[in-house]
Protein backbone atom coordinates (compact mmCIF):
# COMPACT_ATOMS: atom_id res chain seq x y z
CA UNK A 1 0.00 0.00 0.00
CA UNK A 2 2.81 2.38 0.95
CA UNK A 3 4.64 1.72 -2.30
CA UNK A 4 1.50 2.34 -4.39
CA UNK A 5 0.65 5.55 -2.59
CA UNK A 6 4.29 6.66 -2.97
CA UNK A 7 3.98 6.29 -6.74
CA UNK A 8 0.70 8.15 -6.83
CA UNK A 9 1.92 11.12 -4.81
CA UNK A 10 2.66 14.26 -6.82
CA UNK A 11 6.30 15.38 -6.88
CA UNK A 12 7.08 18.02 -4.23
CA UNK A 13 9.75 20.65 -4.74
CA UNK A 14 11.84 22.24 -1.97
CA UNK A 15 11.91 25.99 -2.48
CA UNK A 16 13.09 28.70 -0.09
CA UNK A 17 10.78 31.61 0.73
CA UNK A 18 13.24 33.91 -1.05
CA UNK A 19 13.06 31.90 -4.26
CA UNK A 20 9.29 31.62 -3.99
CA UNK A 21 8.95 35.40 -3.93
CA UNK A 22 11.45 35.65 -6.76
CA UNK A 23 9.48 33.16 -8.86
CA UNK A 24 6.22 34.94 -8.12
CA UNK A 25 7.61 38.32 -9.22
CA UNK A 26 9.31 36.82 -12.27
CA UNK A 27 6.07 35.21 -13.43
CA UNK A 28 4.08 38.41 -12.99
CA UNK A 29 6.73 40.54 -14.71
CA UNK A 30 6.56 38.16 -17.64
CA UNK A 31 2.79 38.06 -17.70
CA UNK A 32 2.09 41.80 -17.66
CA UNK A 33 4.23 44.44 -19.34
CA UNK A 34 2.99 47.10 -16.95
CA UNK A 35 4.52 45.41 -13.87
CA UNK A 36 7.89 46.75 -12.77
CA UNK A 37 10.04 46.67 -9.63
CA UNK A 38 11.76 49.61 -7.97
CA UNK A 39 13.70 50.00 -4.75
CA UNK A 40 17.17 50.23 -3.28
CA UNK A 41 19.65 47.66 -4.63
CA UNK A 42 16.93 45.66 -6.43
CA UNK A 43 18.63 45.69 -9.82
CA UNK A 44 22.40 45.43 -10.08
CA UNK A 45 22.92 44.14 -6.54
CA UNK A 46 20.23 41.44 -7.09
CA UNK A 47 18.37 42.73 -4.04
CA UNK A 48 19.64 43.64 -0.59
CA UNK A 49 18.53 40.18 0.54
CA UNK A 50 18.88 38.69 -2.95
CA UNK A 51 15.11 38.36 -3.32
CA UNK A 52 15.20 39.94 -6.80
CA UNK A 53 18.19 37.90 -7.97
CA UNK A 54 18.37 37.55 -11.73
CA UNK A 55 15.46 39.87 -12.50
CA UNK A 56 17.51 42.83 -13.71
CA UNK A 57 19.55 40.55 -15.94
CA UNK A 58 16.35 39.22 -17.46
CA UNK A 59 14.22 42.38 -17.71
CA UNK A 60 16.70 45.26 -17.84
CA UNK A 61 16.80 48.86 -16.69
CA UNK A 62 13.32 49.79 -17.79
CA UNK A 63 11.54 47.29 -15.53
CA UNK A 64 13.92 46.73 -12.62
CA UNK A 65 14.95 50.13 -11.26
CA UNK A 66 17.60 50.92 -8.65
CA UNK A 67 16.62 53.98 -6.64
CA UNK A 68 18.69 56.39 -4.57
CA UNK A 69 18.14 56.26 -0.80
CA UNK A 70 14.99 58.37 -0.95
CA UNK A 71 12.08 56.37 0.42
CA UNK A 72 9.58 59.21 0.50
CA UNK A 73 10.56 60.21 -3.02
CA UNK A 74 10.57 56.80 -4.66
CA UNK A 75 7.47 55.57 -2.86
CA UNK A 76 5.71 58.68 -4.17
CA UNK A 77 7.07 58.04 -7.65
CA UNK A 78 5.81 54.46 -7.47
CA UNK A 79 2.35 55.62 -6.38
CA UNK A 80 2.26 58.21 -9.18
CA UNK A 81 3.21 55.56 -11.72
CA UNK A 82 0.39 53.37 -10.41
CA UNK A 83 -2.07 56.24 -10.74
CA UNK A 84 -0.99 56.67 -14.35
CA UNK A 85 -1.77 53.01 -15.08
CA UNK A 86 1.42 51.04 -14.43
CA UNK A 87 1.65 48.26 -11.82
CA UNK A 88 4.70 48.97 -9.67
CA UNK A 89 6.21 46.76 -7.00
CA UNK A 90 7.84 49.14 -4.53
CA UNK A 91 10.41 47.43 -2.33
CA UNK A 92 11.36 48.84 1.06
CA UNK A 93 14.66 47.41 2.19
CA UNK A 94 12.89 46.83 5.47
CA UNK A 95 9.54 48.16 6.54
CA UNK A 96 11.30 50.25 9.18
CA UNK A 97 12.31 52.55 6.32
CA UNK A 98 8.74 52.69 5.09
CA UNK A 99 8.10 55.06 7.98
CA UNK A 100 9.93 57.69 5.95
CA UNK A 101 7.41 57.14 3.20
CA UNK A 102 4.34 56.28 5.21
CA UNK A 103 2.50 59.40 4.06
CA UNK A 104 2.74 58.22 0.46
CA UNK A 105 1.54 54.72 1.41
CA UNK A 106 -1.44 55.92 3.40
CA UNK A 107 -2.46 59.33 2.09
CA UNK A 108 -1.48 58.95 -1.55
CA UNK A 109 -2.06 55.24 -2.10
CA UNK A 110 -4.53 53.83 0.42
CA UNK A 111 -7.08 56.63 0.50
CA UNK A 112 -7.18 57.70 -3.12
CA UNK A 113 -9.66 55.22 -4.58
CA UNK A 114 -12.22 56.22 -1.97
CA UNK A 115 -11.50 59.96 -2.00
CA UNK A 116 -11.87 60.09 -5.76
CA UNK A 117 -15.30 58.46 -5.61
CA UNK A 118 -13.93 55.38 -7.37
CA UNK A 119 -12.25 57.26 -10.24
CA UNK A 120 -8.60 56.70 -9.40
CA UNK A 121 -7.36 53.20 -8.53
CA UNK A 122 -3.81 52.68 -7.27
CA UNK A 123 -2.64 49.16 -8.23
CA UNK A 124 0.62 49.14 -6.28
CA UNK A 125 2.44 46.57 -4.14
CA UNK A 126 4.69 47.62 -1.26
CA UNK A 127 6.86 44.74 -0.15
CA UNK A 128 9.87 44.02 2.01
CA UNK A 129 10.99 42.36 5.23
CA UNK A 130 9.03 43.24 8.37
CA UNK A 131 9.59 42.67 12.06
CA UNK A 132 12.54 41.35 14.02
CA UNK A 133 15.66 40.07 12.37
CA UNK A 134 18.81 38.96 14.24
CA UNK A 135 20.85 41.47 16.17
CA UNK A 136 19.80 44.50 14.12
CA UNK A 137 18.54 46.29 17.25
CA UNK A 138 15.76 48.74 17.95
CA UNK A 139 15.49 50.85 14.80
CA UNK A 140 15.56 47.91 12.43
CA UNK A 141 13.25 45.44 14.16
CA UNK A 142 9.75 46.90 14.31
CA UNK A 143 6.68 45.00 13.14
CA UNK A 144 4.27 47.11 11.10
CA UNK A 145 1.37 44.67 10.78
CA UNK A 146 -0.79 46.65 13.24
CA UNK A 147 0.08 50.05 11.76
CA UNK A 148 -0.78 49.14 8.17
CA UNK A 149 -3.59 46.79 9.21
CA UNK A 150 -5.29 49.78 10.79
CA UNK A 151 -5.97 51.62 7.54
CA UNK A 152 -8.98 51.24 5.28
CA UNK A 153 -8.02 51.29 1.63
CA UNK A 154 -5.01 49.02 2.13
CA UNK A 155 -4.78 45.28 1.89
CA UNK A 156 -2.11 43.77 4.12
CA UNK A 157 -0.73 40.25 3.81
CA UNK A 158 1.85 38.41 5.88
CA UNK A 159 3.13 35.18 4.31
CA UNK A 160 4.75 32.48 6.42
CA UNK A 161 6.06 29.73 4.12
CA UNK A 162 7.06 29.46 0.45
CA UNK A 163 3.60 28.58 -0.76
CA UNK A 164 2.19 31.63 1.03
CA UNK A 165 4.95 33.83 -0.29
CA UNK A 166 4.52 32.85 -3.91
CA UNK A 167 0.72 32.80 -3.97
CA UNK A 168 0.31 36.02 -2.04
CA UNK A 169 2.85 38.08 -3.99
CA UNK A 170 1.14 37.04 -7.22
CA UNK A 171 -2.30 37.91 -5.87
CA UNK A 172 -0.97 41.21 -4.58
CA UNK A 173 0.47 42.16 -7.95
CA UNK A 174 -2.77 41.28 -9.75
CA UNK A 175 -4.90 43.16 -7.21
CA UNK A 176 -6.00 46.64 -8.25
CA UNK A 177 -5.74 47.92 -4.69
CA UNK A 178 -2.60 48.99 -2.82
CA UNK A 179 -1.28 45.85 -1.09
CA UNK A 180 1.37 45.76 1.65
CA UNK A 181 3.29 42.47 1.68
CA UNK A 182 5.05 41.94 5.01
CA UNK A 183 7.80 39.41 4.45
CA UNK A 184 10.25 38.14 7.06
CA UNK A 185 14.01 38.24 6.65
CA UNK A 186 14.64 35.23 8.89
CA UNK A 187 12.26 33.17 6.72
CA UNK A 188 13.92 34.03 3.39
CA UNK A 189 16.41 31.17 3.59
CA UNK A 190 14.00 28.53 4.93
CA UNK A 191 13.05 25.82 2.42
CA UNK A 192 9.55 24.37 2.20
CA UNK A 193 7.90 21.85 -0.03
CA UNK A 194 5.95 23.66 -2.72
CA UNK A 195 2.91 21.65 -3.75
CA UNK A 196 2.62 21.04 -7.47
CA UNK A 197 -0.28 23.51 -7.84
CA UNK A 198 2.21 26.18 -6.86
CA UNK A 199 4.24 25.38 -9.92
CA UNK A 200 1.48 26.74 -12.17
CA UNK A 201 1.96 30.28 -13.44
CA UNK A 202 -1.55 31.10 -12.34
CA UNK A 203 -1.15 29.82 -8.79
CA UNK A 204 -2.77 32.42 -6.55
CA UNK A 205 -3.60 32.48 -2.88
CA UNK A 206 -6.69 34.60 -2.25
CA UNK A 207 -6.12 37.67 -0.14
CA UNK A 208 -8.43 37.61 2.89
CA UNK A 209 -8.43 33.88 3.56
CA UNK A 210 -6.64 32.20 6.48
CA UNK A 211 -5.35 28.64 6.38
CA UNK A 212 -5.67 25.96 9.02
CA UNK A 213 -2.15 24.55 9.08
CA UNK A 214 -2.90 21.90 11.67
CA UNK A 215 -6.24 20.51 12.78
CA UNK A 216 -6.88 20.26 16.51
CA UNK A 217 -9.64 20.01 19.08
CA UNK A 218 -8.45 21.53 22.34
CA UNK A 219 -7.38 25.05 21.51
CA UNK A 220 -7.17 27.49 18.61
CA UNK A 221 -3.77 29.11 18.11
CA UNK A 222 -3.70 32.01 15.63
CA UNK A 223 -0.54 33.55 14.23
CA UNK A 224 0.95 35.28 11.17
CA UNK A 225 4.39 35.13 9.59
CA UNK A 226 7.34 33.44 11.32
CA UNK A 227 5.51 32.70 14.60
CA UNK A 228 3.29 30.25 12.69
CA UNK A 229 6.29 27.93 12.61
CA UNK A 230 6.84 28.36 16.35
CA UNK A 231 3.14 27.53 16.94
CA UNK A 232 3.47 24.33 14.95
CA UNK A 233 6.54 23.38 16.99
CA UNK A 234 4.62 24.07 20.20
CA UNK A 235 1.75 21.97 18.88
CA UNK A 236 4.09 19.04 18.21
CA UNK A 237 5.44 19.22 21.78
CA UNK A 238 1.97 19.47 23.30
CA UNK A 239 0.64 16.65 21.17
CA UNK A 240 2.87 14.29 23.13
CA UNK A 241 1.02 15.41 26.25
CA UNK A 242 -2.32 14.76 24.61
CA UNK A 243 -3.17 18.38 23.83
CA UNK A 244 -4.20 18.87 20.20
CA UNK A 245 -3.80 22.45 18.96
CA UNK A 246 -5.52 23.85 15.91
CA UNK A 247 -2.98 26.19 14.34
CA UNK A 248 -4.29 28.90 12.05
CA UNK A 249 -2.00 30.79 9.69
CA UNK A 250 -3.71 34.16 9.16
CA UNK A 251 -1.94 34.84 5.83
CA UNK A 252 -3.88 38.12 5.53
CA UNK A 253 -3.93 40.86 8.18
CA UNK A 254 -6.43 43.04 6.34
CA UNK A 255 -9.12 42.10 5.41
CA UNK A 256 -8.96 39.71 8.33
CA UNK A 257 -10.53 36.26 7.92
CA UNK A 258 -12.27 36.25 11.27
CA UNK A 259 -14.79 33.63 10.11
CA UNK A 260 -12.16 30.88 10.01
CA UNK A 261 -10.98 31.84 13.49
CA UNK A 262 -14.55 31.99 14.81
CA UNK A 263 -15.44 28.58 13.43
CA UNK A 264 -12.33 27.16 15.06
CA UNK A 265 -12.98 28.79 18.45
CA UNK A 266 -16.54 27.54 18.37
CA UNK A 267 -15.05 24.06 18.03
CA UNK A 268 -12.16 24.27 20.53
CA UNK A 269 -13.51 26.82 23.06
CA UNK A 270 -10.05 28.29 23.67
CA UNK A 271 -7.96 30.94 21.93
CA UNK A 272 -4.34 32.05 21.97
CA UNK A 273 -2.98 34.60 19.51
CA UNK A 274 0.74 34.83 18.70
CA UNK A 275 2.58 37.69 16.97
CA UNK A 276 6.02 39.23 16.85
CA UNK A 277 4.79 42.82 17.21
CA UNK A 278 4.18 44.85 20.35
CA UNK A 279 1.08 44.05 22.41
CA UNK A 280 -0.67 47.39 22.58
CA UNK A 281 -3.16 47.86 19.72
CA UNK A 282 -1.67 44.84 17.96
CA UNK A 283 -2.97 42.13 15.65
CA UNK A 284 -3.85 39.86 18.58
CA UNK A 285 -5.81 42.67 20.21
CA UNK A 286 -7.92 42.99 17.08
CA UNK A 287 -8.53 39.24 16.87
CA UNK A 288 -9.68 39.16 20.50
CA UNK A 289 -11.96 42.18 20.05
CA UNK A 290 -13.62 40.67 17.00
CA UNK A 291 -14.10 37.31 18.73
CA UNK A 292 -15.81 39.13 21.58
CA UNK A 293 -18.11 40.93 19.15
CA UNK A 294 -19.12 37.79 17.29
CA UNK A 295 -20.86 34.45 17.90
CA UNK A 296 -17.66 32.71 19.05
CA UNK A 297 -17.62 34.61 22.36
CA UNK A 298 -20.30 32.40 23.83
CA UNK A 299 -18.14 29.36 23.11
CA UNK A 300 -15.06 30.55 25.00
CA UNK A 301 -14.33 28.59 28.18
CA UNK A 302 -11.52 30.94 29.18
CA UNK A 303 -10.37 34.45 28.31
CA UNK A 304 -8.35 34.66 25.10
CA UNK A 305 -4.63 35.24 25.63
CA UNK A 306 -2.15 37.13 23.47
CA UNK A 307 1.49 36.12 23.08
CA UNK A 308 3.41 39.07 21.68
CA UNK A 309 6.79 40.70 21.38
CA UNK A 310 7.96 42.39 24.58
CA UNK A 311 6.80 45.98 25.04
CA UNK A 312 10.29 47.44 24.59
CA UNK A 313 12.39 48.73 21.71
CA UNK A 314 14.27 45.65 20.52
CA UNK A 315 17.49 45.21 22.51
CA UNK A 316 20.75 44.17 20.90
CA UNK A 317 22.27 41.53 23.22
CA UNK A 318 21.25 38.08 22.02
CA UNK A 319 19.87 36.89 25.35
CA UNK A 320 17.71 40.02 25.59
CA UNK A 321 16.61 39.83 21.95
CA UNK A 322 15.67 36.16 22.23
CA UNK A 323 13.48 36.98 25.19
CA UNK A 324 11.85 39.93 23.46
CA UNK A 325 10.09 37.83 20.82
CA UNK A 326 7.65 34.95 21.34
CA UNK A 327 9.49 31.66 21.77
CA UNK A 328 8.06 28.16 21.61
CA UNK A 329 8.16 27.93 25.41
CA UNK A 330 6.10 31.16 25.70
CA UNK A 331 3.47 29.75 23.38
CA UNK A 332 3.32 26.46 25.31
CA UNK A 333 3.02 28.39 28.57
CA UNK A 334 0.15 30.52 27.24
CA UNK A 335 -1.68 27.47 25.88
CA UNK A 336 -1.39 25.60 29.16
CA UNK A 337 -2.48 28.66 31.11
CA UNK A 338 -5.55 29.07 28.94
CA UNK A 339 -6.39 25.39 29.28
CA UNK A 340 -5.81 25.64 33.03
CA UNK A 341 -3.19 22.90 32.97
Amino acid sequence: MAAVSGLMRRPLEQVTVRDAINQGMDEELERDEKVFLLGEEVAQYDGAYKVSRGLWKKYGDKRIIDTPISEMGFAGIAVGAAMAGLRPICEFMTFNFSMQAIDQVINSAAKTYYMSGGLQPVPIVFRGPNGASAGVAAQHSQCFAAWYGHCPGLKVVSPWNSEDAKGLIKSAIRDNNPVVVLENELMYGVPFELPSEAQSKDFLIPIGKAKIERQGTHITVVAHSRPVGHCLEAATVLSKEGIECEVINMRTIRPMDIETIEASVMKTNHLVTVEGGWPQFGVGAEVCARIMEGPAFNFLDAPAVRVTGADVPMPYAKILEDNSIPQVKDIIFAIKKTLNI
Binding site: G73, G76, G80, A81
Partner: protein, 284 residues
Protein backbone atom coordinates in the same frame (compact mmCIF):
# COMPACT_ATOMS: atom_id res chain seq x y z
CA UNK B 1 -22.58 103.46 -42.58
CA UNK B 2 -25.19 102.55 -40.01
CA UNK B 3 -28.11 103.20 -42.33
CA UNK B 4 -26.49 101.02 -45.00
CA UNK B 5 -25.88 98.19 -42.51
CA UNK B 6 -29.41 98.39 -41.19
CA UNK B 7 -30.71 98.17 -44.75
CA UNK B 8 -28.51 95.19 -45.52
CA UNK B 9 -29.55 93.33 -42.37
CA UNK B 10 -33.23 93.94 -43.11
CA UNK B 11 -32.68 92.46 -46.54
CA UNK B 12 -30.82 89.48 -45.09
CA UNK B 13 -33.70 88.95 -42.69
CA UNK B 14 -31.55 88.37 -39.62
CA UNK B 15 -31.49 90.23 -36.30
CA UNK B 16 -29.76 93.54 -36.61
CA UNK B 17 -26.88 93.21 -34.17
CA UNK B 18 -25.16 89.94 -35.26
CA UNK B 19 -25.24 90.85 -38.93
CA UNK B 20 -23.58 94.21 -38.41
CA UNK B 21 -20.96 92.60 -36.19
CA UNK B 22 -20.14 89.95 -38.77
CA UNK B 23 -19.91 92.44 -41.65
CA UNK B 24 -17.83 94.85 -39.63
CA UNK B 25 -15.53 92.12 -38.36
CA UNK B 26 -14.73 90.62 -41.74
CA UNK B 27 -13.94 93.95 -43.26
CA UNK B 28 -12.16 95.99 -40.63
CA UNK B 29 -10.59 93.67 -38.03
CA UNK B 30 -7.75 91.17 -38.18
CA UNK B 31 -8.24 87.66 -36.81
CA UNK B 32 -5.20 87.75 -34.58
CA UNK B 33 -2.74 90.05 -32.91
CA UNK B 34 0.89 89.94 -31.91
CA UNK B 35 1.83 90.71 -28.34
CA UNK B 36 5.12 91.37 -26.69
CA UNK B 37 5.62 89.32 -23.54
CA UNK B 38 8.06 89.57 -20.68
CA UNK B 39 11.39 87.83 -21.05
CA UNK B 40 11.85 84.96 -18.57
CA UNK B 41 14.73 84.74 -16.12
CA UNK B 42 16.77 81.67 -17.00
CA UNK B 43 18.76 79.14 -15.00
CA UNK B 44 21.09 76.76 -16.84
CA UNK B 45 19.36 77.55 -20.12
CA UNK B 46 20.96 79.23 -23.11
CA UNK B 47 17.66 80.31 -24.60
CA UNK B 48 14.20 80.89 -23.24
CA UNK B 49 10.70 81.14 -24.61
CA UNK B 50 10.04 83.74 -27.37
CA UNK B 51 9.33 87.33 -26.35
CA UNK B 52 6.49 87.82 -28.77
CA UNK B 53 3.46 85.67 -29.36
CA UNK B 54 0.47 85.57 -31.62
CA UNK B 55 -2.98 85.39 -30.11
CA UNK B 56 -5.92 84.48 -32.36
CA UNK B 57 -9.36 85.87 -31.77
CA UNK B 58 -10.67 82.43 -31.05
CA UNK B 59 -8.01 81.71 -28.45
CA UNK B 60 -8.33 85.12 -26.91
CA UNK B 61 -12.02 84.67 -26.35
CA UNK B 62 -11.51 81.14 -25.11
CA UNK B 63 -8.87 82.11 -22.54
CA UNK B 64 -10.89 85.10 -21.41
CA UNK B 65 -14.02 83.03 -20.99
CA UNK B 66 -12.15 80.34 -19.05
CA UNK B 67 -10.45 82.82 -16.75
CA UNK B 68 -13.68 84.64 -16.09
CA UNK B 69 -15.47 81.40 -15.36
CA UNK B 70 -12.78 80.33 -12.90
CA UNK B 71 -12.89 83.76 -11.26
CA UNK B 72 -16.67 83.69 -10.84
CA UNK B 73 -16.62 80.08 -9.67
CA UNK B 74 -13.97 80.80 -7.04
CA UNK B 75 -15.70 83.93 -5.79
CA UNK B 76 -18.91 81.97 -5.47
CA UNK B 77 -17.11 79.21 -3.63
CA UNK B 78 -15.73 81.88 -1.29
CA UNK B 79 -19.23 83.07 -0.58
CA UNK B 80 -20.54 79.54 -0.01
CA UNK B 81 -17.61 78.81 2.27
CA UNK B 82 -18.36 81.84 4.41
CA UNK B 83 -21.95 80.70 4.60
CA UNK B 84 -20.64 77.33 5.79
CA UNK B 85 -22.29 75.55 2.91
CA UNK B 86 -18.80 74.43 1.91
CA UNK B 87 -17.14 72.80 4.92
CA UNK B 88 -13.59 72.06 5.94
CA UNK B 89 -10.98 73.71 3.78
CA UNK B 90 -11.54 75.78 0.66
CA UNK B 91 -8.39 76.96 -1.11
CA UNK B 92 -9.16 79.43 -3.87
CA UNK B 93 -7.21 80.52 -6.90
CA UNK B 94 -8.98 83.78 -7.79
CA UNK B 95 -6.18 86.03 -8.91
CA UNK B 96 -4.13 83.11 -10.25
CA UNK B 97 -6.37 82.25 -13.20
CA UNK B 98 -3.69 83.02 -15.76
CA UNK B 99 -1.73 80.07 -14.42
CA UNK B 100 -4.30 77.33 -14.90
CA UNK B 101 -5.54 78.69 -18.22
CA UNK B 102 -2.08 79.48 -19.56
CA UNK B 103 -0.68 76.07 -18.59
CA UNK B 104 -3.57 74.25 -20.23
CA UNK B 105 -3.06 76.32 -23.38
CA UNK B 106 0.53 75.16 -23.59
CA UNK B 107 -0.10 71.41 -23.42
CA UNK B 108 -2.31 68.74 -24.98
CA UNK B 109 -5.30 67.06 -23.33
CA UNK B 110 -3.28 63.83 -23.48
CA UNK B 111 -0.60 65.34 -21.23
CA UNK B 112 -0.91 64.96 -17.50
CA UNK B 113 -1.25 67.42 -14.63
CA UNK B 114 -1.10 67.14 -10.86
CA UNK B 115 -1.29 69.86 -8.27
CA UNK B 116 -1.83 70.47 -4.55
CA UNK B 117 -5.00 71.62 -2.88
CA UNK B 118 -5.52 74.91 -4.70
CA UNK B 119 -7.04 72.84 -7.42
CA UNK B 120 -10.47 74.11 -8.48
CA UNK B 121 -9.13 76.13 -11.40
CA UNK B 122 -7.15 73.17 -12.75
CA UNK B 123 -10.10 70.84 -12.26
CA UNK B 124 -12.05 73.14 -14.59
CA UNK B 125 -9.32 73.63 -17.18
CA UNK B 126 -8.70 69.90 -17.28
CA UNK B 127 -12.26 69.34 -18.36
CA UNK B 128 -14.75 69.09 -15.52
CA UNK B 129 -17.82 71.32 -15.41
CA UNK B 130 -18.49 74.06 -12.89
CA UNK B 131 -21.52 72.07 -11.83
CA UNK B 132 -19.48 68.98 -10.95
CA UNK B 133 -16.99 71.11 -9.04
CA UNK B 134 -19.54 73.06 -7.01
CA UNK B 135 -21.52 69.87 -6.35
CA UNK B 136 -18.37 68.26 -4.99
CA UNK B 137 -17.60 71.29 -2.85
CA UNK B 138 -21.08 71.16 -1.36
CA UNK B 139 -20.83 67.41 -0.71
CA UNK B 140 -23.42 66.29 -3.25
CA UNK B 141 -23.68 62.97 -5.04
CA UNK B 142 -23.41 64.74 -8.36
CA UNK B 143 -19.95 65.94 -7.43
CA UNK B 144 -16.98 64.65 -9.39
CA UNK B 145 -15.97 62.44 -6.48
CA UNK B 146 -19.56 61.71 -5.46
CA UNK B 147 -19.14 64.04 -2.51
CA UNK B 148 -16.52 61.79 -0.93
CA UNK B 149 -13.51 63.93 -1.73
CA UNK B 150 -14.34 67.57 -1.24
CA UNK B 151 -12.29 70.61 -2.19
CA UNK B 152 -8.92 68.93 -2.08
CA UNK B 153 -9.65 65.62 -3.82
CA UNK B 154 -11.04 66.21 -7.29
CA UNK B 155 -9.88 64.00 -10.17
CA UNK B 156 -10.46 63.98 -13.92
CA UNK B 157 -8.96 62.28 -16.97
CA UNK B 158 -5.20 62.92 -16.91
CA UNK B 159 -5.70 65.10 -13.84
CA UNK B 160 -4.53 63.54 -10.62
CA UNK B 161 -5.96 65.98 -8.11
CA UNK B 162 -6.24 67.73 -5.76
CA UNK B 163 -3.74 66.53 -3.05
CA UNK B 164 -3.98 67.52 0.59
CA UNK B 165 -0.50 66.80 1.90
CA UNK B 166 1.85 69.65 1.06
CA UNK B 167 4.57 68.48 -1.30
CA UNK B 168 3.41 64.86 -1.59
CA UNK B 169 2.08 65.50 -5.10
CA UNK B 170 5.57 66.25 -6.42
CA UNK B 171 6.96 62.70 -6.24
CA UNK B 172 3.57 61.52 -7.52
CA UNK B 173 4.00 63.81 -10.54
CA UNK B 174 7.50 62.47 -11.16
CA UNK B 175 5.96 58.99 -11.06
CA UNK B 176 3.36 59.95 -13.64
CA UNK B 177 6.22 61.26 -15.77
CA UNK B 178 7.95 57.92 -15.31
CA UNK B 179 4.82 56.23 -16.66
CA UNK B 180 4.85 58.65 -19.62
CA UNK B 181 8.42 57.67 -20.42
CA UNK B 182 7.68 53.96 -19.81
CA UNK B 183 4.74 54.06 -22.23
CA UNK B 184 6.74 55.94 -24.85
CA UNK B 185 3.91 58.16 -26.04
CA UNK B 186 5.70 61.53 -25.86
CA UNK B 187 3.48 62.77 -23.06
CA UNK B 188 4.65 65.06 -20.29
CA UNK B 189 3.50 65.63 -16.73
CA UNK B 190 3.04 69.07 -15.20
CA UNK B 191 3.77 68.79 -11.50
CA UNK B 192 2.69 71.84 -9.54
CA UNK B 193 3.49 72.99 -6.04
CA UNK B 194 3.45 76.28 -4.14
CA UNK B 195 6.19 78.45 -2.72
CA UNK B 196 5.46 76.95 0.71
CA UNK B 197 5.79 73.39 -0.53
CA UNK B 198 9.06 74.25 -2.31
CA UNK B 199 10.89 73.73 0.98
CA UNK B 200 9.70 70.10 1.36
CA UNK B 201 12.48 67.51 1.30
CA UNK B 202 10.57 65.06 -0.87
CA UNK B 203 10.58 67.63 -3.67
CA UNK B 204 14.36 67.49 -3.77
CA UNK B 205 14.22 63.70 -3.78
CA UNK B 206 11.90 63.97 -6.78
CA UNK B 207 14.23 66.46 -8.52
CA UNK B 208 17.11 64.02 -8.08
CA UNK B 209 15.34 61.01 -9.50
CA UNK B 210 13.66 62.96 -12.31
CA UNK B 211 17.03 64.31 -13.43
CA UNK B 212 18.80 60.97 -12.98
CA UNK B 213 16.24 59.09 -15.04
CA UNK B 214 15.46 61.99 -17.44
CA UNK B 215 11.77 61.93 -16.67
CA UNK B 216 9.51 64.17 -18.82
CA UNK B 217 8.39 66.16 -15.80
CA UNK B 218 7.79 69.91 -15.74
CA UNK B 219 8.09 71.02 -12.13
CA UNK B 220 6.07 74.19 -11.66
CA UNK B 221 6.25 76.41 -8.60
CA UNK B 222 3.24 78.72 -8.29
CA UNK B 223 4.75 81.49 -6.25
CA UNK B 224 2.10 83.67 -4.70
CA UNK B 225 4.67 84.81 -2.15
CA UNK B 226 2.87 83.40 0.87
CA UNK B 227 2.82 79.90 2.34
CA UNK B 228 -0.36 80.16 4.38
CA UNK B 229 0.49 83.26 6.37
CA UNK B 230 4.24 83.11 6.09
CA UNK B 231 5.94 85.31 3.52
CA UNK B 232 8.61 83.76 1.31
CA UNK B 233 11.40 85.79 2.91
CA UNK B 234 10.59 84.20 6.27
CA UNK B 235 10.36 80.65 4.91
CA UNK B 236 13.07 80.21 2.31
CA UNK B 237 16.79 80.80 2.47
CA UNK B 238 16.65 81.20 -1.31
CA UNK B 239 13.51 82.69 -2.88
CA UNK B 240 14.74 82.07 -6.41
CA UNK B 241 12.48 79.06 -6.72
CA UNK B 242 13.34 78.53 -10.38
CA UNK B 243 16.94 77.91 -9.35
CA UNK B 244 16.15 75.52 -6.52
CA UNK B 245 16.26 72.55 -8.87
CA UNK B 246 20.03 73.12 -8.95
CA UNK B 247 21.05 70.74 -11.75
CA UNK B 248 17.60 71.08 -13.35
CA UNK B 249 17.29 74.01 -15.80
CA UNK B 250 14.70 76.57 -14.77
CA UNK B 251 12.84 79.67 -15.82
CA UNK B 252 10.92 82.34 -13.98
CA UNK B 253 7.73 83.34 -15.74
CA UNK B 254 5.27 86.19 -15.28
CA UNK B 255 2.39 84.19 -13.83
CA UNK B 256 -0.07 87.06 -14.17
CA UNK B 257 0.15 87.06 -17.98
CA UNK B 258 -1.69 84.18 -19.60
CA UNK B 259 0.31 84.49 -22.82
CA UNK B 260 3.62 84.47 -21.00
CA UNK B 261 2.55 81.33 -19.17
CA UNK B 262 1.42 79.71 -22.41
CA UNK B 263 4.67 80.38 -24.23
CA UNK B 264 6.78 79.23 -21.31
CA UNK B 265 4.72 76.04 -21.04
CA UNK B 266 5.11 75.33 -24.74
CA UNK B 267 8.85 75.86 -24.40
CA UNK B 268 9.08 73.61 -21.34
CA UNK B 269 6.92 70.87 -22.87
CA UNK B 270 9.06 70.86 -26.03
CA UNK B 271 12.18 70.58 -23.87
CA UNK B 272 10.78 67.56 -22.02
CA UNK B 273 9.41 65.88 -25.11
CA UNK B 274 12.84 66.06 -26.72
CA UNK B 275 14.08 63.68 -24.01
CA UNK B 276 16.37 66.15 -22.25
CA UNK B 277 14.80 65.41 -18.88
CA UNK B 278 12.94 67.56 -16.36
CA UNK B 279 12.66 71.34 -16.32
CA UNK B 280 11.48 73.78 -13.66
CA UNK B 281 9.16 76.74 -14.07
CA UNK B 282 8.43 79.35 -11.45
CA UNK B 283 5.20 81.25 -12.04
CA UNK B 284 5.33 84.46 -10.15
Amino acid sequence: MRKMLAAVSRVLGVAQKPASRVLVASRNFANDATFEIKKCDLHRLEEGPPVTTVLTREDGLKYYRMMQTVRRMELKADQLYKQKIIRGFCHLCDGQEACCVGLEAGINPTDHLITAYRAHGFTFTRGLSVREILAELTGRRGGCAKGKGGSMHMYAKNFYGGNGIVGAQVPLGAGIALACKYNGKDEVCLTLYGDGAANQGQIFEAYNMAALWKLPCIFICENNRYGMGTSVERAAASTDYYKRGDFIPGLRVDGMDVLCVREATRFAAAYCRSGKGPILMELQ
